[in-house]
């Protein structure tokens, strides 16, 4: 398994208020990642199906208290862990006041010991207004930003409904590089009418700007989005299966040559610079989801819990403030469901799924677990199995939905 990024020693425990980062517990306690959701955006993007909302006024102090309260509440589910990552997502978390970010990071340190190399990521939009807050976030303890650049082509930015323009994006990337030890940005490709050649040109420019990590997503039209409506009306259409495959393959090749190979379907990093937080999802480790609509998975005695918070921001806020237990729910995850989830997430990774963890979770050897489907997928060149792991090949990852449908018991 690739090792997780170890930031510059200077950067470790950079926030003195993070207590416990040198406690001996760090080597024995199971890792925990914490996701914190800020549900607000300035505007809703036409491709986005995330839990994001546009509000005229946000009472930041109230929201800060609520998120802290949720953190306190959920901390009881996962005592004695070591926190390896905090991730501020949304929505647009770069609309959060830096003080809120600081207060939440500090509160994490009150509940748990944190890893010496803890990764604290914040998603940011590359608007000039939001970039102004970078210094504040850095001071609060954020050590990684992920910028929602999405495109470097002005027309594409407009099509994607982004509030920023190309110059702002370039400026934000520069500022992120200067401000944070680690940064990444996202691009959306396989846009309507995009050719392989045009995408590779854009990708080359992105590579010149990139740090050690890039997230490259093929545009997916999700039900309920503005794009879904436009697609239904026949106004837009995404590349077909064949062109989608060509774009994907060209991306893999170009990024590998540039030293940022894929470590997951849509994520590329210099080895060691993978996003620790997202690895927790894909490795099916434990994570808490704080804030409206956030999901978590936590191992408790006797099994795993799936947690889910209420989606509607105001309803969630009211429930948290009333402390009436309706803000979220926790349900046990059945063993076969957990196995399906571990495979669905883990096979996205180049490293695959740990065979030992999978067999422990399933309570069965993989031969018994999968039956003849496994040999067929291995022979077909879609999966590889060895003593340590079960992993999808490049061909298998490219058709992972079909592989999972054939494999998952």
């Amino acid at each position: 398994m690739p090792t997780t990024a170890l930031p510059d020693p200077e950067e470790r425990c950079e926030a003195p208020r993070l207590e416990g980062c040198n406690t001996p517990l760090q080597n024995v306690a199971p890792p925990l990642a914490i996701y914190i959701h800020w549900p607000f955006c300035r505007s809703k993007c036409p491709y986005c199906d995330f839990n994001s909302h546009v509000r005229e006024r946000i009472d930041a102090a109230r929201w800060t208290r609520a998120l802290l309260a949720d953190l306190d509440r959920q901390a009881r589910l996962a005592p004695g862990r070591q926190v390896v990552s905090i991730f501020f997502g949304g929505g647009t978390p770069s609309l959060m006041p830096a003080e809120t970010v600081a207060a939440l990071i500090e509160r994490v340190g009150v509940h748990w010991p944190v890893a010496r190399d803890i990764e604290i990521t914040l998603e940011a939009n590359p608007n000039s207004a939001e970039a102004e807050r970078f210094a504040g976030y850095r001071a609060a303890g954020v050590n990684r930003v992920s910028l929602g650049v999405q495109a470097l082509d002005p027309a594409a930015l407009k099509f994607l409904g982004r509030a920023h323009n190309r110059d702002e994006a370039l400026a934000a990337i520069r500022l992120a590089r200067e401000t944070f030890p680690r940064f990444s940005f996202d691009l959306i490709y396989a846009r309507p009418g995009q050719s392989v050649a045009a995408w590779l040109d854009e990708l080359d420019e992105a590579l010149a700007l990139a740090g050690e990590h890039l997230s490259l997503y093929q545009l997916t039209i999700e039900p309920g989005t503005a794009f879904a409506t436009r697609e239904a009306r026949g106004e837009i259409s995404v590349p077909d299966d064949e062109l989608g495959a060509q774009l994907f393959e060209a991306t893999q090749e170009r990024l590998a040559a540039a030293g940022l190979p894929a470590y997951e379907i849509s994520n590329h990093a210099r080895p060691g610079a993978e996003c620790r937080h997202n690895l927790a999802y894909w490795r099916y480790e434990d994570y808490l989801g704080i804030g409206p609509g956030a999901h978590g998975r936590v191992t408790v005695l006797g099994g795993r819990l799936a947690t889910r918070q209420r989606r509607a921001p105001e309803a969630w806020l009211a429930a948290i403030e009333a402390a009436d237990d309706t803000a979220g729910e926790a349900m046990p995850v059945a063993r076969d469901t957990a196995v399906a989830e571990m495979l669905m997430m883990g096979l996205r990774l180049v490293e695959g799924v740990s065979r030992q963890r999978l067999e422990e979770l399933a309570g069965a050897e993989i031969a018994a677990l999968f039956g003849p489907a496994l040999a067929r997928l291995v022979d077909g060149g879609f999966l590889i199995v060895d003593e340590r792991r079960l992993a999808a090949t490049a061909a298998g990852r490219q058709c992972l939905n079909a592989v999972l449908a054939a494999l998952v018991p």
Binding site: A33, Y35, F50, N51, Y217, Q218, L219, T220, D241, E242, G244, A245, F248, I265, S266, N278, A280, Y281, Y287, G289, G293, A294, H295, G296, R297, A306, R308, T337, A340, E341, M344, M345, R348, R376, L377, G380, F382, R397, Q398, C399, L400, N401, A402, V403, L404, A405, A406, V408
Partner: protein, 601 residues
């Protein structure tokens, strides 16, 4: 309750689908007060959901109307509502046998259609007085004079005093009632003679058991009477006697000329042969009414449950349907591709579709239907003859001397603008032209065609090349030898028995190619490439390839997506359960259905 013969009129309505027969029936019922306003709804006589939805009549229905005519006398008018489709021609003929006259309802803008033609000839042959009624005269496109002329030209019926009606607005409907009284003859019969009643139809009612619809010719039917079914010899005691208004209402007796129902503790519809004569067990009639021919299924297909766990349920459902429709047959069948199911015989393609749909709807079953087949006579080299209605039972070619297939005589009515493509279609389907005449701008085409060419998408193609204007009617017309071969479909080299068909050698390549092309579109790309082939014996006559999947993966899947995306995966797996595996290829049920249907193009 017996009404004097002179005050009874029994009539049927003959009409093409959509020409307004049910609406007219509704209006007649309403005007005679058979139902209160709150009980009235559209197509009251079409009781099955499927009839109401498709706007067709499957089972014959009857209703007794009480009408005070302009002469001040009260008349009983018995309306027999009859199916209009060729598949149910037999139901039409026995409905007609129960009446003395018919209303011929023709859409005043559409004109005469092929099925109308066939049914009206049956009515004339049954000695009916036929009263032409032009319906939908309220529509701007109505051309009553042209259609009158057409009735005279095409049918040879005097349309000079045809009634002009709008069943929708009620205009002219009163005149229809009056014409029934004045223009139709009253029934004949002798109340003192031994009982003779025609068994018009029967159906299974969950509360009453088998209900028999009868037309009394001579004598009287009363409850408690011991009756005998002359064809089977079985005797039963009559429990209930009644009439339909269209609600079932008890009546003390049914006399000559009357139409009504009885129940007699009979368990299954199969014991009540339609067309049989009911007589008094103690004082039987010396001869039955003119004979009936039992109907023979002409189209066969396999019905299989999508989920093999539903096999028992399918068996029970077929048994229940058969209680009500003795005209279809079924026997168990096993398919490598589809598992356990039944081979079923039907009167025609519409009948097949209706039974399939009723099974799916009324019994909540998911079914796979195999390609319809006709009944072949396979003459073996050992001198024996095998009756074949399942391609998978085809004997080894070396054992076959020759094969005979059923032919039909088809009558097609089509505006002459579409004649060219219709002729081309008939020729392509091995048709032999018998006659071509014109009535105005309408061609009347008579062709002999092999039935197996007709059960294979002929009707859909006929409709599509004529933009819906052509109409078709046919009768079976004997057997003839044909150069017929078994064509198999192979998926990755493995034969899919459910897709095997018997086909004329001259058509094999075209059909094989069409089937392979269709399957290529229908089978979703999978992890592995799929070869689809059509073969005659060991010879491949068509081949298509479904390329392997190129890309099928979610772009994003993070912590918040796990539950939702897993549900997608489960859905996908659920879908796979509905597929059948051949040579490790998952073929969706929808692909079978669509490939087997092979609709237009």
């Amino acid at each position: 309750m017996t009404t004097p013969l002179s005050h009874i009129r029994n009539f049927a309505i003959i009409a093409h689908i959509d020409h307004g027969k049910s609406t007219l029936a509704d209006r007649l019922i309403q005007m005679c007060g058979g139902l209160e306003a709150r009980e009235m709804r559209e197509q009251v006589l079409d009781t099955m959901a499927i009839e109401r939805e498709r706007g067709i009549t499957i089972k014959a229905q009857t209703v007794r109307l009480n009408y005070r005519a302009r002469d001040g006398e009260d008349y009983v008018l018995n309306l027999m509502d009859t199916p209009g489709h060729v598949d149910f021609a037999y139901e039409v003929s026995r409905s007609l046998a129960a009446c003395e006259g018919s209303l011929l309802v023709v859409d005043a803008s559409q004109g005469v259609e092929a099925q109308t033609l066939a049914n009206v000839y049956q009515a004339i042959a049954a000695g009916h007085e036929v009263v032409p009624v032009l319906n939908k005269i309220d529509l701007p496109a109505a051309e009553p004079d042209r259609v009158k002329q057409q009735i005279e030209d095409v049918i040879g019926l005097d349309a000079g005093d045809a009634l002009l009606v709008s069943a929708k607005t009620g205009e002219g409907v009163e005149d229809v009632l009056e014409a029934l009284v004045t223009r139709l003859p009253p029934p004949q019969g002798d109340a003192a003679a031994p009982l003779k009643a025609l068994l018009v139809d029967s159906w299974y009612d969950a509360y009453l058991g088998v209900v028999i619809l009868v037309r009394v010719k001579d004598g009287t039917l009363v409850s408690g009477q011991k009756i005998r079914l002359m064809a089977t010899g079985a005797s039963h005691a009559v429990e209930r006697v009644g009439v339909f208004t269209p609600k079932g209402v008890a009546a003390p007796s049914l006399g000559p000329g009357e139409i009504g129902f009885i129940t007699a503790g009979i368990k299954t519809v199969a014991d009540c042969r339609v067309g049989d004569t009911i007589t008094d067990d103690r004082r039987p009639a010396d001869a039955p009414l003119p004979g009936f021919q039992p109907v023979q299924p002409v189209v066969f297909c396999g019905l299989f449950p999508t989920d093999s766990a539903d096999y028992e349920r399918l068996r029970d459902s077929l048994a229940k349907l058969r209680l009500n429709d003795a005209s279809f047959e079924y026997e168990p069948e096993t398919s490598v591709a589809l598992g356990f199911g039944f081979r079923c015989g039907f009167l025609g393609l519409l009948h097949l579709e209706i039974i399939q749909e009723r099974l799916e709807r009324e019994f909540d079953l998911d079914l796979i239907t195999t390609a319809p087949s006709v009944v072949y006579r396979v003459h073996l080299t050992n001198g024996r003859t095998q009756i074949l209605h399942n391609p998978t039972d085809m004997p080894d070619p070396v054992r076959i001397d020759h094969i005979e297939e059923p032919w039909i005589k088809a009558t097609i009515l089509v505006p002459d603008a579409y004649l060219g493509p219709i002729l081309a279609l008939c020729e392509e389907r091995r048709g032999v032209q018998q006659d071509l005449t014109y009535a105005g701008s309408r061609a009347i085409l008579v062709y002999r065609l092999p039935l197996n060419e007709v059960v294979f998408d002929f009707y859909d193609r006929l409709k599509s090349v004529s933009r819906g204007y052509a109409s078709l009617d046919y009768q079976l017309d004997g057997y003839a030898e044909g150069d017929l071969v078994l064509m198999n479909i192979l998926v990755n080299g493995e034969p899919v028995d459910a897709l095997s068909i018997i086909v004329h050698r001259s058509q094999a390549e075209r059909r094989g190619r069409a089937l392979c092309e269709r399957l290529k579109e229908l089978i979703p790309r999978q992890l592995f490439q799929i070869a689809i082939q059509a073969a005659l014996g060991g010879r491949i006559i068509a081949r298509e390839t479904v390329k392997a999947l190129r890309k099928d993966v979610l772009a994003k899947c993070y912590g918040g997506d796990v539950t939702r995306k897993r549900k997608l995966l489960e859905k996908q797996k659920e879908g796979k359960k509905r597929m059948r595996q051949f040579g490790q290829v998952d073929i969706p049920q929808s692909a079978f259905i669509a490939a087997l249907r092979m609709g237009d193009n």
